[in-house]
Amino acid sequence: MRFRARVEVQLRPGIADPEGATIERALPALGFEGVAHVRAGRSFSFEVDAPDEGAARTTASELADRLLANPVIEQSRLELEAI
């Protein structure tokens, strides 16, 4: 079976996010009011061949933890769908 994985990587709560803060500071100048707590992150997608969803999830989450996110400062969220 083949699965499409989407991994979202964000800084852990409590880790300062200079990118999100810079975006947030720019918002009033653009006329956006009432927007707060902007956090920047990255999104990755890839396809995994695996016998079942559990095996695909194991591969994808290991890939996310070992490479796509730096667990010291980041956390990842995984979504998986059969294709």
Partner: protein
């Protein structure tokens, strides 16, 4: 014979020749090592120099950690060999888990390229053994992700074990505790964001980096004699 300082070249590394030249000025002999080789060869110390290893894709240092040479670098470090990561090299060492913590994007998202005033905070490392605590050094920084961060337990441990080797006199990038460089438990592995090789001649505006590099060359000579 001058101690041999292996300088690892990844695709995108750009400070290797500066380090080779500065190593010579400090009394060593710089030898370039290719990241794709699995062996280090006959070297007495290893430097991971600055630049953009593997294009800094994903995160600085994230892909360099998987380069074939890194297994030997980790083994060399474990066996007590002197290893120094400068700037991008520091990022590689943290990504590889050889040093704790991480280098985040600078506070206020500023790319910084300027001389930095540093204060020696510990002499228990191969890079600062020739200095005294409180010595001030002026050495350039040149980075976008030099904002050192780690969890509270790691920070407490670094402090308790005297492993914060260099601090900024005026914190330029938001690093916790104004950390500019740290060492491992044994002091044989050091990572720092400032570039000592760019402060290795009066012509460059400062010779303060030579103080650090001479200490590294001495540590390499000791390692060589012990081997």
């Amino acid at each position: 014979m001058a101690p041999r300082i292996g300088v690892v070249v990844f695709p995108g590394t750009n400070c290797e020749h500066d380090v080779v030249q500065a190593a010579a000025a400090a009394g060593g002999e710089g030898v370039l090592l290719w990241h794709g080789d699995t062996q280090l060869g006959a070297v007495d110390a290893v430097v991971l120099p600055g630049g953009f290893a593997h294009g800094d894709y994903l995160r600085p240092g994230a892909l360099a950690r998987f380069s074939p040479v890194m297994g030997s670098v980790a083994e060399f470090a474990r066996s007590g060999g002197p290893v120094v990561g400068i700037c991008n090299g520091f990022q590689v060492l943290t990504e590889a888990g050889i040093l704790p913590g991480a280098l985040q994007k600078n506070g206020r998202l500023r790319f910084l390229c300027e001389p930095a005033r540093l204060v020696v905070s510990s002499t228990a490392s191969v890079l600062t053994a020739g200095s005294a605590v409180g010595d001030e050094l002026v050495i350039p920084i040149n980075h976008f992700s030099g904002n050192y961060t780690c969890d509270d337990a790691t920070r407490a441990r670094l402090q308790a074990e005297d492993r914060i080797v260099l601090r900024y006199a005026a914190n330029p990038n938001g690093s916790i505790d104004a950390i500019a460089g740290i060492a491992n438990e044994a002091g044989n592995v050091v990572g720092l964001m400032p570039h000592p090789e760019r402060a290795s001649s009066a012509l460059l505006g400062s010779e303060d980096g030579l103080v650090l590099l001479r200490a590294l060359v001495r540590a390499a000579a000791t390692a060589s004699a012990a081997a």
